[in-house]
């Protein structure tokens, strides 16, 4: 049975079509990137896969089960999300931020074992020094790193990343990419959006080119990220970027 199936998805908002007839089959343990110009529908597609947005037509199946029919907690045990920018509206410690990864497993009150899971991961990832610091005041790099660590705590099978490197300096970019490589080795499925081709080449097995809400190309990274395909995608000659 196919692992994750995106089947004939259509999504429009305010009479504008953002996603048009998207079909994808993603295998377990695969790392797939969605690449395309601004406004091509990348984030919309991720949000549909996460069932944050509900499409007007089409379904998404995980191991044969429609994800829109999953209970919220059940879904959160399967999918975790790392947004482009993590913002906290109120003061909270890094530990309190991380323990939210246990929400799908908690019935009302945080248990001792949940605290231990968080502390173990903090120890393992070398971020214990951030435990009591206000998450709001961490650097963007630290925030992304912590959010990625939260996906371990959430124990999800599929990690969905929406441009996680955008606001980061070189140090944290390489740290996050290394960690993603580790996540891949663990056999987790990664669905990501990156703005740069290097990150895609480093992390992904497969890339989907998205243009105006439709799939332009889908295949192995080296076969797809060619000069011709990218020129067609951006409608510009981008040979300088490819070097």
């Amino acid at each position: 049975m196919d692992y994750l199936v995106v089947n004939k998805i259509f999504f429009s908002y305010n009479k504008k079509e953002f996603i048009k007839n998207i079909n994808l089959v993603i295998n377990k343990g695969e790392s797939i990137s969605i690449f395309g110009p601004n406004g091509s529908g990348k984030t919309t597609l991720l949000k549909i896969i996460l069932s944050i947005l509900k499409p007007q037509k089409g379904e998404i199946f995980l191991e044969g089960k429609n994800v829109f029919k999953f209970k919220e907690r059940e879904r959160a045990k399967k999918f975790s999300y790392v947004p482009q920018k993590v913002s906290s509206f109120f003061p909270m410690s890094t530990f309190d931020f991380l323990i939210l990864g246990r929400v799908p497993y908690i019935n009302g009150f945080i248990r001792k074992e949940d605290r231990e899971i968080v502390l173990n991961w903090m120890e393992k990832m070398g971020v214990m020094h951030l435990k009591d610091q206000n998450f709001q005041f961490l650097s963007e790099g630290e925030k992304q790193l912590i959010t990625l660590i939260r996906t371990f705590i959430q124990e999800s099978e599929i990690i969905v990343l929406d441009e996680p490197l955008t606001h980061l300096d070189l140090k944290y970019k390489s740290k996050i990419l290394e960690l993603l490589k580790e996540i891949k080795k663990m056999g987790k499925t990664i669905i990501s959006i990156f703005h740069d081709l290097e990150s895609i080449k480093y992390i992904s097995d497969r890339v989907v080119l998205l243009k105006n809400g439709e799939i332009l190309k889908d295949g192995e990274v080296n076969d797809i990220l060619t000069k011709d395909n990218l020129t067609q995608l951006f409608e510009e000659n981008i040979s300088q970027i490819l070097g």
Binding site: K47, E72, S87, V103
Partner: protein, 325 residues
């Protein structure tokens, strides 16, 4: 350690202010007399039993209700400046009460005013929530301005109705200004019937509220049924604000001050913030009511004036010093 000391101080101060509030007034009692009365209330003075005790208890409970409503509003609207008063939720409750007085519906059934107060709060919270969803995103400052505008609109309609129907003016002015001085145990029982379940349910959804503090999409991806949580929280805010306005009229700023003070000390966790809001909110309103009774004794100043006097500078502090927006 710091947190424990804070809680201990809160508890001691609450007990102290409770005792002083009972002892202070036209007739003064010693603390010993108050303690004797509390041990055996039936043998106590009528004044203590029927006037002072209900007044002090209700001021504590209304303070607690408004603080928890403020905390829930801030989480629901993802806005540290959210408050039932500033966002016009209290004015909405007041508007529906005035409207029911105007239409002669106030005697329709027992506690009908409290029902209309709840409906008004629910209506306004829902409107604010709709405004907050305009095009998916609205800045926190714009949301606040929308709330303030709604506050003025509803207050002006209430005033218009009060002037139009003269009988309404008498009733509504009496109802909104008498505050805690006309309270009785029947009202306190109603307050408790609403407050206790709201408190329990707020605590039961504590972890979902924590997750919601990161925004709706993140809460969703963490396994929170955000639609259900929003609806549920909206009802809790409306119930707590509605009953508070019914009991004491509009009291501002408690719902803004208390959660913000607590968040800076205790951070995110609603499991701590909810019971602490109860304590600090109750204490602050008891103190405000006591100050209102003391400052121009024997004349009483309505408690809303005292809370605004304390709250407005705090609001400016939040806005400029903390640079929230």
């Amino acid at each position: 350690m710091k947190k424990r000391v804070f809680v201990l101080i809160l508890i001691i101060l609450s007990i102290l202010i409770f005792l002083i509030s009972l002892s202070y007034g036209s007739k003064r009692y010693s603390i010993l007399e108050i303690l004797k009365f509390l041990i055996n209330p039936k043998n106590g003075d009528e004044l203590l039993l029927k006037i002072r005790l209900p007044r002090v208890l209700s001021s504590f409970l209304v303070g607690a209700s408004l603080s928890i409503a403020g905390l829930l509003s801030q989480t629901l609207f993802l806005n540290p400046l959210a408050d039932p008063f500033l966002f016009g939720i209290s004015s909405g409750a007041n508007f529906f009460v005035t409207l029911s007085l105007f239409l002669g519906l106030d005697m329709m059934f027992k506690f009908s005013l409290s029902f209309f107060s709840f409906l008004g709060a629910l209506f306004t919270t829902f409107i604010i929530l709709l405004i907050s969803r305009i095009k998916g995103k609205i800045t926190p400052l714009n949301l606040l301005l929308a709330g303030v505008a709604l506050n003025y609109l509803l207050s002006s309609i209430s005033s218009f109705l009060s002037i139009w129907g003269r009988d309404v003016l008498n009733k509504s002015v009496f109802w909104s200004l008498t505050g805690f001085s006309t309270i009785n145990f029947e009202k306190i029982n109603l307050l408790l019937i609403i407050f206790i379940p709201c408190l329990i349910f707020s605590i039961l959804i504590n972890i979902q509220l924590d997750a919601f503090s990161l925004g709706e999409d993140e809460a969703h991806s963490l396994g929170v049924n955000t639609k259900l949580l929003k609806t549920f929280t909206l009802f809790l805010i409306a119930l707590l604000t509605g009953i508070s306005v019914y009991v004491s009229g509009i009291i501002g700023f408690i719902g803004l001050m208390v959660p913000n003070i607590l968040r800076t000390i205790f951070g995110l966790k609603h499991i701590e913030l909810i019971p602490l809001s109860l304590l600090l909110g109750g204490l602050l309103l008891m103190v405000s009511d006591l100050i209102g009774r003391m400052i121009l004794f024997p004349t009483e100043i309505p408690v809303s004036i005292i809370t605004s006097f304390l709250g407005a500078p705090f609001f400016l502090y939040l806005l400029f010093k903390k640079r929230i927006y």
